[in-house]
Symmetry: C2
Subunit: 213 residues, 2 copies
């Protein structure tokens, strides 16, 4: 392995270990020694890559933000209608929250007191994406009569943040089953009658399908 | 003032000050000195009432739990139908989260890592209440056809936990306006057609009305 590859691999191991320790102990109590131990590297190697605990937290959040952007981009690339894109993105997000400690820790680092200075606003990023896709749906005329993109955004953002929070204690909240219950309830109110039959509450991506097996 | 009254007053001041400091600094960073200073009492007086920071957190959570029980009981005493009771209770909860730091800190103390041992499960208590009132609605036959109490509970609990979490950063999320947007969206799907017209998304209690002025 060339030196550069090894450095990149060490950095990735440190970010993942930091996420594990932040998720377990919280940012304030997390120790750099636990992080370097979990990553299997020396304290010196940690300090070569990251100047502080703050820098590690920032790296965790940035990796989570990149995952979130990829989820949005992939839902758009699917080419389906805005409401299906929204459903697919929520399944992708819950699936990542369930199995990827970096995404979970990224969201947790930005919530609750004390709020860290300069932390990445993952919930704000998610909210912005949800609002945009619902505005697309409104523009396409596929929202039910009398339903505004704004009202729908408030409900979808609050519920998904709730799933994320409750899921930290009990993974049933981020399961495909719970999300399908939510969409089964909401879709008949949200979608115009003529497109409702074509929407799949369980998502249309292979990842969403595999979660429901 | 007799001695007993003064002791009760000091205890109340300490619980409120603890809530302020927990909400601002988080449990881990909160210092007993900040709490006694904010309450305007000596460290000795603090230790006379509370053996530890843990005991103070427990007292904050227990006061918040009592408020939550009172919200549930008062919604029941209103005598209205289960769905209106649910709407009224969500308005009462958001209103308390907005103006009462003890309730806000109580919810925050139970969330996020590190989870404190033996903390009161306020979200679990809220979830239990929501499930019960929606089961009443199901039993009374006032849910829309095809809607189960379980699906409705998942959505209402997740959204209200989301409002609570997002409201800690931006009070717009716990405002009456946001909650009315949520109920306006959800009710036509949730309630049987024959009772929908009688439901008020803005709540029927004087407190709910005053929030919307």
């Amino acid at each position: 392995m060339v030196k550069q590859e090894r450095a990149a691999r060490t950095r990735r191991a440190l970010v993942r270990a930091a996420a594990e320790v932040f998720a377990r102990d919280g940012f304030v109590l997390a120790s750099l020694t636990s992080i370097s131990k979990m990553a299997g590297v020396s304290n010196g190697a940690l300090h070569f890559h990251f100047a502080s605990k703050q820098a590690l937290a920032r790296a965790v959040e940035e990796e989570a933000a990149a995952v979130l952007r990829a989820i949005g981009a992939s839902a758009r690339a699917g080419g389906s209608r805005p409401l299906q894109r929204l459903i697919d993105a929520t399944h992708a997000l819950m699936e990542r929250l369930e199995r990827d400690v970096v995404v979970r820790a990224g969201f947790e680092l930005g919530s609750g007191p004390p709020r860290r200075d300069g932390s990445v606003d993952l919930r704000g990023q998610w909210q912005g994406w949800v609002e945009e896709v619902l505005k697309d749906a409104e523009r396409d005329g596929i929202l039910a009569p009398g339903v505004s993109a704004a009202d729908a955004s408030v409900t979808v953002v609050a519920a998904t943040v709730g799933f994320e929070q409750l899921g930290a204690e009990d993974p049933a909240w981020t399961s495909a089953r719970t999300l399908v219950q939510f969409w089964d309830l909401l879709l008949p109110r949200l979608a115009a009658a003529e497109i409702l039959g074509g929407l799949q509450a369980g998502g249309t991506t292979p990842a969403a399908a595999s979660r429901q097996e």
